[in-house]
């Protein structure tokens, strides 16, 4: 059950940042953040494209490179010891090739332009995607480029000079809200795999993460104790005219009887009913669960259920509301509100 797992993860995270966190953990976090802040990142230009500059490239030998170096050292010592010039010559040749290869590795990143776009919104626990467009500006072809944000080995791609390529990066989500790609790494070990050059790219791309929907949620029609008004107006809203009633905040302006208002009869609302005419209010206050995230996941489930049932629904949260409406874009607005909800 992915949503439950996500919740557990969230609770763990909340706990860690709270009082329960050990001193060691906090120090480790602080030290980690300090070093993070020391890292050079590739800044994003005004056109939203990050171009890799010379001073933002890190390069270190790989395990293969270390082996290569060790074998070179043995070759050098042996040739020196036995005063074997041919041995020295081949050692120097292979070492020079490695040094040249190191510069090739570095140059494969230099001047690369990266642009990151967030992907479509996902529910928490699903994989969020980011779309990274790499552009080999200039006249150098790029090989063995990899974009990663975690330890998973990404596929490598090559770009002809002047060409561009797009790669999708999947990111597991553990919490709702705007997911930022906080650590995008571009790396290459072209041409010999002896060195790995990488850089951290700064992006402002985000992907929206909705709360994970609960498996089951109470039917919003059920009166949850808030008795100011019923949350479900069976018979209100659609085709057949049923009569008029007094205006209440939240009513659609389209349903206001403007003619009556003009006749100074006050704000009246025309009530309609029909086959689909079911309005539902999905409300924060209607739920009793104590935990914010649990409530949000229940609300998400309710929004999804209502959408599936084709109901007209509105959403009320402590920090705002979505009026009654129907349709995909309305559902998305509601989910976005739930995703970005923050309890003041």
């Amino acid at each position: 059950m992915p949503s439950a797992a996500a919740h557990r993860a969230d609770r763990r995270r909340d706990g860690a940042s709270g009082q329960g966190a050990s001193l060691r953990g906090r120090i480790a976090g602080r030290v980690g953040r300090y070093f993070e802040s020391m890292l050079r990142r590739v800044p994003m230009g005004s056109d939203g494209v990050a171009r890799v500059g010379a001073r933002q490239i890190y390069i270190l030998p790989t395990a293969t490179g270390m082996t290569y170096g060790a074998v070179m050292l043995v070759m050098l010592l042996g040739s020196l010891n036995y005063q074997n010039n041919l041995g020295l010559l081949s050692t120097f040749f292979l070492a020079s090739v490695a040094i040249i290869a190191m510069h090739h590795t570095w140059l494969s990143l230099l001047g690369l332009a990266a642009q990151v776009r967030g992907g479509p919104a996902v529910f928490c626990g699903e994989t969020a995607t980011f779309e990274i467009t790499l552009h080999a500006e200039g006249r150098r072809a790029r090989y063995d480029l990899r974009a990663r944000s975690d330890d998973k080995p990404p596929p490598s791609l090559q770009i002809a000079a002047g060409d561009q390529a797009t790669v999708k990066l999947g990111l597991r989500t553990a919490r709702r809200g705007q997911l930022e790609l906080d650590k995008l790494t571009l790396e290459t070990s072209h041409p010999m795999g002896l060195f790995r050059a990488w850089c951290y790219v700064e992006t402002d791309a985000t992907t929206l993460v909705y709360p994970a929907p609960a498996a089951h949620a109470p039917d919003p029609s059920h009166d949850a104790g808030d008795d100011r008004r019923p949350h479900r107006h069976r018979g209100e809203g659609a085709e057949d005219y049923l009569g008029s009633r007094g205006y209440r905040p939240g009513d659609s302006p389209r349903h206001i009887d403007w003619k009556a208002f003009a006749r100074e009869r006050g704000l009246l609302v025309k009530e309609y009913g029909g086959d689909e005419g079911q309005d539902v209010w999905i409300q924060w206050s209607a739920l009793r669960a104590g935990d914010t995230e649990t409530r949000l996941s229940l609300l998400t489930r309710q929004v999804l259920d209502a959408t599936e049932a084709g109901l007209r629904f509105g959403l009320r949260l402590p920090d705002g509301m979505e009026p009654l409406a129907r349709g995909a874009s309305h559902t998305q607005r509601c989910l976005k509100r739930l995703a970005l909800f923050s309890h003041a």
């Binding site: 120097f92 020079s96 140059l107 080995p153 791609l157």
Partner: protein, 672 residues
């Protein structure tokens, strides 16, 4: 059998395994002739298993069997060499191990490791063979090693070997200047840091420091070069070129050894009379011994060497690498009279002197008045009696000197020298044996003399009052009509030493000899510039730059500077973002060249459209191909970027585009 768990992306592909295997086989091939047959058989077995395993993966040995094979391989090396250290044993062990690794190429990591270890295998081979051809071959192998690493890294997009080879070619070309700088300026060691016991092995051919029947004959059939000599002035006559090596004093009845060589301290000048010295430079192949060969008699020793009382030039360290040295010698000389102790040493006789030997010498002693007359008497004996010179002497029994003198009477220099020295000692004339080389072949192409192992020789020195030690060559006394040239020519072919005077009227033999001299010249150049490049050359270079005062530090500083400069130039060239010409421009330039050859050069003011119009008007037969080319070229040129498909199409069109000149293709007249 539990195998290692490897993620899918890191698993070795069969094609990669095949290429790695082929690379290892290619790298092992040159070292195999230097290994024992058991080791070679084992290597071949493992190669076969590996290649069969590619075809039938189930045939690959499992982990247990691999461990068993590893033990078998080590045991095999131990059995062949009795040691795993030293050059031969070490090389055999390393070749065995890298070959066994081929059976365990599961992940890319294994492939990379094996590929990198090939570099070490290359260096190991240079301890065995430093010829130009081997170096060129191993150069190709190391390119293969780089290409395989590039291919294993992947990310090149296209399949096949071509992109990896292209990258390799560029890397190698860019690495060359840096390689050169490092090679010329990297400080060398003047003496080895450690020694893995080379002396214990007799892998090298070269002068031994003992003499018994058969010792030199082994050398005499070896046509390899021993050393090369370049004289400052005119070289002396070939017959006078006695290259002096070890001096032997002690005979145990069968074998001559140095014995208790006199330990008198070397005096500045052993010679009491000398002619004008001649100076020459010798490039000696590694012998793993300390003898530096010099003409009779050396007067100045090169640095790092000294002259012994017996006038041998001896290096302080064994010659493990090519050694170049300058010596001065005098061709006519008289040595000081040695001490009584040395006289006694040079008169000591083994206990197997037979009465008939004593009788023979007694006869001569009766006739001769002086020691020198007695020596002449002995030489006359070898000349008059039916002594034969042959490289295939009959076997000798327990008392070789006696049997040779009175029964077989056939042998070569060592038999003659040994017998003569003994006879002189019986007569009371102190004598000693000198081993070395005689003569040398002129190489007019290279301007030097080459002395081969087959020129190995042994002669005698006798102590004559007033003259000191005098060289006597009993072999030369043999009647020339009794020299067995057939055996020499059969054993040596074109490599036979000149003293056998093998008939060279045959045109092919002459051609073969001159080809051999040319090859040797190339080899000498290779030696001079690559193999023999040493600290001395580096210091000479520093001297030219006026930095000689700084010595090693100057060299190191110069190296750092040169590396930085070279790298800076390479980097500058690399980071220039544009290749020399855009692909599309290059295609258009080729198109114009083809038309220009057909007599329709482009005018400077013409754009492609105008040019096309003019060509079509002048040569309606070309309208088709020219129109098609331009119809594709113009939009590609003026759009933002040409698509690869368009480029490919243009290239294909250009390949088929072969405009002929108007009229007959044979016509030489140009229309313009």
């Amino acid at each position: 059998m539990p195998e290692r768990r490897i993620p899918a992306g890191e698993r070795a592909k069969p094609s990669q395994v095949l290429w790695t295997t082929l690379l290892v086989i290619a790298a092992c091939l040159p070292v195999m002739p230097h290994l024992r047959w058991q080791v070679n058989a084992f290597l071949a077995l493992v190669f076969a298993v590996r290649l069969l395993g590619l075809r039938w993966p189930s045939a690959m040995p499992g982990r247990g069997l691999r461990i068993l094979l590893t033990f078998a391989g080590v045991a095999n090396c131990l059995h062949g060499y009795h040691t795993l250290a030293g050059q031969d044993g070490g090389a055999a062990l390393f070749a065995t191990m890298i070959t066994l690794k081929l059976l365990e190429l599961d992940s890319k990591r294994d492939l990379r490791l094996t590929t990198i270890l090939v570099g070490f295998l290359i260096v190991v081979q240079f301890l065995f063979d430093e010829s130009f051809s081997i170096a060129a071959y191993l150069g190709v192998v190391s390119l293969g090693m780089i290409a395989l690493l590039v291919k294993l890294n992947g990310g090149l997009g296209e399949a096949g070997a071509r992109p990896a080879l292209r990258v390799t070619y560029r890397l190698a070309l860019q690495a060359l200047p840096l390689t050169l700088v490092l090679f010329v300026l990297f400080p060398r060691l003047e003496a080895p840091l450690w020694n893995l016991g080379f002396e214990r092995e007799a892998a090298m051919t070269g002068m031994s420091d003992t003499m018994e029947p058969g010792a030199i004959s082994e050398l005499v059939v070896n046509g390899e070069g021993a050393f090369r000599v370049r004289f400052e002035g005119a070289p002396p006559d070939s017959g006078q070129l006695y290259w002096r090596g070890p001096v032997l004093w002690e005979m145990d009845g069968r074998r001559w050894t140095q014995g208790d060589a006199p330990h008198e301290s070397p005096r500045p000048s052993e010679l009491v009379a000398a002619s004008e010295p001649i100076e020459y430079e010798v490039v000696l192949e590694p012998t793993r011994q300390r003898w530096l060969f010099a003409l009779d008699m050396p007067v100045t020793a090169p640095s790092d060497a000294f002259i012994t009382p017996a006038l041998q030039v001896v290096a302080r360290q064994p010659i493990n690498a090519l050694r170049r040295y300058r010596v001065r010698s005098v061709m006519s000389y008289a040595t000081q009279a040695p001490s009584q102790e040395v006289r006694l040493l040079a008169l000591r006789l083994p206990d197997n002197i037979t009465p008939r030997m004593r009788a023979l010498v007694a006869d001569w002693g009766a006739e001769a008045q002086t020691e020198w007359q007695l020596v002449q008497r002995g030489l006359a004996f070898f000349n008059r009696e039916a002594f034969h010179y042959t490289l295939l002497p009959p076997a000798l029994g327990a008392n070789p000197a006696d049997e040779f003198l009175f029964e077989t009477r056939a042998g070569f220099c060592e038999h003659y020298a040994s017998a003569f020295a003994l006879l002189m000692r019986i007569a009371g004339i102190p004598s000693r044996i000198v081993l070395g080389y005689l003569g040398g072949e002129d190489n007019d192409i290279g301007g030097y003399k080459i002395v081969r192992q087959s020129d190995a020789h042994a002669w005698v020195e006798v102590l004559i009052p007033e003259r000191g030690w005098v060289r006597v060559d009993p072999t030369a006394a043999v009647d020339p009509s009794r020299i067995d040239r057939r055996s020499a020519s059969r054993l040596l072919g074109a490599n036979a030493s000149l003293r056998f005077s093998i008939d060279e009227t045959n045109g092919f033999a002459r051609f073969a000899r001159s080809m051999r001299l040319l090859a040797d010249t190339l080899d000498a150049t290779w030696q001079n510039w690559v193999l023999d490049f040493s600290t001395e050359d580096q210091l000479a270079l520093l001297d030219k730059l006026g930095l000689s005062a700084f010595r090693e530090y100057g060299l190191a500083a110069l190296m750092m500077l040169a590396i930085s400069l070279t790298l800076a130039v390479i980097l500058l060239a690399l980071s220039r973002d544009n290749p020399p010409q855009d692909a599309l421009d290059a295609l258009y330039a080729r198109f114009c060249r083809k038309l220009a050859r057909a007599g329709l050069p482009k005018h400077h003011h013409e754009g492609p459209r105008d040019y096309g119009r003019r060509v079509t008007a002048e040569r309606p037969d070309l309208a088709g191909p020219v129109g098609r080319f331009l119809a594709l070229y113009i939009p590609s040129r003026y759009s933002a970027s040409a698509s690869p498909q368009n480029l490919e199409q243009l290239r294909a069109q250009l390949r088929d585009f072969a405009p002929k000149e108007p009229g007959s293709p044979l016509s030489l007249k140009r229309s313009r």
